[in-house]
Each structure stands twice: as structure tokens, then as C-alpha cells.
């Protein structure tokens, strides 16, 4: 299955998908020391986003969250790539400064956790 979305930050990677239908707050919602989601009652609570193709609808919360993505990258706990339904400022800026490939405008409900996903973000291409 192939989808064509919009480039947010370029890069070619492939990896295992980690999917949630809930928004993610990187500041306060993700532990920058481990990559684990720590937001209470989040469906990924306790799961690490490190090295995964992280698939979620949109970011939320404080704009300081962009720096959290940068910090995760430098600690080696960043997601390999990010796929959004609709990207917003926090995630977009975080991906640019941390240099994490990112694509949005993808029907994310068609992707399942554990699937192998290939991304060519420059083309906006996502392939399962």
C-alpha cells in the first residue's frame, strides 16, 4: 500500500510503525531521558517511541515540545520518522531542528502498529 502526503522534513528511512489515534504532547508527555510516553491515560503510556516510525494524528501542548524532540534525538531516543494526519507547529519545528524525517496528510488509520513502513519524506511518500 502506498500513500502520497506532504513533506515536512526530508529523509529516507524504513522501520516499524508505532501507531496511536491520540495526539501527543512532547513537552511533559514524553520522557526525554528514555523516549517513553508518560502522559497519564495515553494509549501508548509506558511505551518507548525510540527508533520507531511514530504515527499519530497531530501534536498538542507547549511549544517547548519542539526542544524535546531535539533532546530525544541527541540522547538517541528519537523516533526514526514521524507520520501525521495534520502536522502543526510543535511537531514540524521539532522535526526540522532535530532533523527527523516527517510527512503529513496521510490516512494514518490504514497503518497498524508493528508494520514495516518505508518513507521517502522529500517526496511525501509512505509505503507499507
Amino acid at each position: 500500500m502506498k500513500f502520497l502526503g506532504r513533506k515536512i522534513y526530508p529523509g529516507v528511512v524504513s522501520g516499524q510503525a508505532l501507531v496511536t489515534k491520540m495526539a501527543i504532547s512532547f513537552f511533559g508527555g514524553v520522557d526525554p531521558e528514555s523516549g517513553e510516553i508518560v502522559e497519564r491515560d495515553h494509549e501508548l503510556q509506558g511505551i518507548s517511541i525510540a527508533g520507531k516510525v511514530l504515527v499519530f494524528p497531530s501534536g498538542k501542548g507547549s511549544t517547548v515540545g519542539s526542544y524535546t524532540l531535539y533532546r530525544l534525538k541527541h540522547a538517541g531516543y528519537a523516533p526514526l520518522a514521524i507520520i501525521n494526519r495534520e502536522c502543526e507547529t510543535i511537531t514540524a519545528v521539532g522535526c526540522i531542528i532535530a532533523e527527523i524525517p516527517c510527512v503529513d496528510q496521510i490516512p494514518i488509520e490504514k497503518i497498524k502498529t508493528g508494520q514495516l513502513v518505508m518513507i521517502d519524506a522529500k517526496l511525501g511518500l509512505v509505503e507499507i
Binding site: I8, V64, Y67, T68
Partner: protein
């Protein structure tokens, strides 16, 4: 998006790594939000200054931008830091925090950002004029600049404001465009409102009501016959905090109001709702107040003069922080207000505030006249709050 030759050169790295990163951020945001082009800005206000919020990652990024040749291209000022830069020890800030905070300030200074450290740039040398395009972070200042000054800005985050500074540009979308500044809901106030704390309560009532509807974002208010600088400063902070409001119009008071068609959708606010909001901002016991703070947003020189009058010859028994800008503090020194205020036992905390200082869990109950401070006291610092008028806050400190 259409770019000028100079913008294209920035994107290709001809202006150095930091400028390239900065314009990448702006072009991407412009594409996400459907901007046709970038526009020049005359002023920038950067948030994300306290080390408590930035952490090592934020500091590392700022350092890299400074090393990468980043330099402010337009007047750029800073939000409050996590401490008084000259007087942090007296406020119980650790040496380690102070060192890290200094490194943050240094990184900004190397990029030629004015290290003003205040949430009221418009009182401290960064005063945009009517219809100026600007790129401001700090929600209270954004609401004030858009609404009271009639300047034009979206609500920027720390990195996007920095990007605007290093390029002198911002993507043309949202509140920069005339057609997006029209009000969509009329708010009729049916009672008289006075003082910073009542205007704060009003901001909470309107902000929450509009947020609940989910459909509206720019209120057009009538029934407010006058409002001081300090009252509008308090109102802007509160309506942004509780309603996420970026722009409001007040009939007869704010500069764009007379240009606007009055929306058909209409809500009204009465005295009971204001009183309920005031009550709802107090969840702490008056007898347990152990922290008092005035200056959210930062106090004006007029408020400090008033405070000196109230504290003259009095003794303050509790930890009492007066948060303001360095500019205003220097004027307070010259006028002898500082001496009077400090003789009472109250402390100046310039450059910082009780929202961004690293004081989580340090106190139990905060007394304040700021509706915004009440919100963050709970959300960030886990304090209870007692919400009072400016004069009553001072009385609670000396009572």
C-alpha cells in the same frame, strides 16, 4: 510558497547554517498554514528563556544557532528568565540553575537579542505601532499587541520566534491578514469592571465561554467604557490563558474595533459570572498563604509606585516577590520605591516571574491579583491560590 532572491539564498545556506535552519522553519510553517509568501517583521519577542522550561536540549539548540552564525535582523527581546539575573541568590535559586540560566542568556546575547527578560516588552523598548507585522511569542503580550496596539502577529512558539528574528521574516498567514482579524462573536458586558483582578476574572469568564463553544475565536466586546494600561495587560494575559484568544476588539477602546462589523452571534456576561470566576480562582485557605506575588504580567512603574505607597512603614511576614522588568526596577531604584519596598521585607524579582522560576512545590498557597498566575500556580507548581485585588494582596502580606 514564493520566495524573494534573498530568502532563496538564505534557504541555500549562503547566510550560514543558523539562518538556513531558521528559514527552513518559516517556509515549512508557511506551507502547513497555506501562506503565499514571507513578510518582513519589525519586532520579535522570544519565549522559552527559563532554563526550567528549556532544559539542556533547548540550551544546546540555542548554543548551536549562536555558533552557526545566527544574528537578530530586527529588534528582538526576550521573555522572563527563571531567575533575577543580578539577585538570584536571595530568591533561593541554586548555583547550578543560575549557571545554566546564564548560559541561555549568553547564547541569546551572542545572537544580538536584547536580553530584556520581560513579558511586557511594550513597556520596555519594544513597542510595535499600528499595523506593524511582528512575530511575538508569549501569549499575554501577543493578545496585547494584536488587540490593544493593533500590531499583527500569530501566536509564535520559542523556536519560530527565533527563526523570525534571525531572518527578519514571518510567513503571511493567520492574524497577519486583514480578512482574518474580524470578530466572530459579540460579548456584551452588563456590569462595571475595575482593577487588574476584576479584569483578570473577566478574561477567564470570556475565555472559557468562547472555548466551550469551540467555534469562535475573536470576541468583539461592548459595555466596557474605560480600561487602564494595567487592566488591559491583566485582561490580555487572562483571556489568552483561559481561552487561547490571540485577538480581541473592545468597542470604543481598541484601535480596529470601529472598522469591524458587529457579529450577530452574541453572549452576555453579568455580575454573578464575574463573582463566580473570582471565587473559582481561590482554592487555598487565607490562613495558609505562604507566598505572595505581584507582577503577572510584569508590574508597570505606576503599579510599583502604588505598591511603595501601600508598603511604606509596613512589615511583610511572608515570602513576597515583586516581579517586573529590569527597566522598571531601575526606575523604581531612582524614585526610591525600591528602598521603601525592600525595607518592608518584600523582595524584587526582576527578569523573572512566579510562572517560570524553578519553584515547583516550594510553597503551599499563593496570594496574587493575577488570574493567569493562578492557572500556572496549579498547573506547573502545584500551589493552591488565593485570588485578591492588588490592595488586598498587599494586605494579606502585612496582615
Amino acid at each position: 510558497m514564493k520566495l524573494t532572491e534573498q530568502e532563496q539564498a538564505m534557504l541555500e545556506g549562503e547566510y550560514g547554517w543558523a539562518t538556513k535552519k531558521a528559514i527552513e522553519i518559516l517556509v515549512t510553517l508557511g506551507e502547513i498554514y497555506g501562506a503565499d509568501n514571507l513578510i518582513p517583521v519589525t519586532s520579535v519577542q522570544i519565549a522559552g528563556v527559563s532554563y526550567d522550561n528549556l532544559g539542556e536540549a533547548g540550551l544546546d539548540f540555542l548554543d548551536k544557532m549562536a555558533k552557526g552564525g545566527g544574528e537578530a535582523r530586527v529588534l528582538t527581546t526576550l521573555n522572563p528568565a527563571g531567575m533575577d539575573i543580578e539577585n538570584w541568590e536571595q530568591l533561593g535559586i541554586s548555583t547550578e540553575f543560575a549557571e545554566n540560566q546564564r548560559r541561555v542568556i549568553d547564547a541569546f546575547a551572542r545572537m544580538k537579542v536584547i536580553t530584556s527578560c520581560t513579558c511586557t516588552p511594550y513597556l520596555s523598548g519594544n513597542l510595535p505601532t499600528y499595523r506593524n507585522h511582528i512575530a511575538w511569542a508569549e501569549s499575554s503580550a501577543v493578545a496585547f499587541a494584536n488587540s490593544v496596539l493593533g500590531a499583527r502577529t500569530n501566536r509564535e512558539g520559542g523556536p519560530s520566534a527565533l527563526a523570525a528574528s534571525l531572518t527578519g521574516r514571518t510567513p503571511a498567514y493567520g492574524y497577519h491578514l486583514t480578512q482574518n482579524r474580524s470578530p466572530d462573536i459579540r460579548v456584551n458586558l452588563q456590569t462595571d469592571i475595575q482593577g487588574t483582578f476584576q479584569f483578570g476574572a473577566l478574561g477567564k469568564v470570556i475565555g472559557e465561554k468562547i472555548k466551550r463553544t469551540g467555534n469562535y475565536k475573536i470576541p468583539f466586546m461592548d459595555g466596557i467604557s474605560s480600561a487602564s494600561l494595567e487592566e488591559l495587560k491583566s485582561f490580555s494575559a487572562s483571556i489568552a490563558t483561559y481561552g487561547g484568544i490571540t485577538l480581541f476588539h473592545i468597542s470604543g477602546l481598541t484601535p480596529e474595533a470601529y472598522l469591524m462589523a458587529i457579529p450577530n452571534i452574541h453572549i452576555s456576561i453579568n455580575r454573578d459570572e464575574i463573582n463566580q470566576a473570582i471565587d473559582s480562582l481561590t482554592d487555598g485557605n487565607v490562613d495558609e498563604i505562604d507566598f505572595i506575588s505581584l507582577g503577572c504580567p510584569h508590574l508597570s512603574i505606576n503599579e510599583i509606585a502604588q505598591l511603595a505607597e501601600l508598603l511604606k512603614g509596613q512589615k511583610v511576614e511572608k515570602e513576597f516577590w515583586i516581579t517586573t522588568s529590569r527597566f522598571t526596577k531601575d526606575m523604581a531604584n531612582r524614585m526610591g520605591y525600591t528602598e521603601v519596598i525592600e525595607a518592608s521585607g518584600a523582595k524584587f524579582a526582576a527578569d523573572t516571574c512566579c510562572v517560570v522560576a524553578p519553584i515547583k512545590g516550594r510553597f503551599k498557597v499563593l496570594a496574587t491579583d493575577s488570574a493567569k498566575a493562578c492557572y500556572y500556580a496549579y498547573a506547573k507548581n502545584k500551589f493552591k491560590t488565593v485570588f485578591l485585588s492588588f490592595e488586598d494582596v498587599v494586605r494579606s502580606a502585612i496582615g
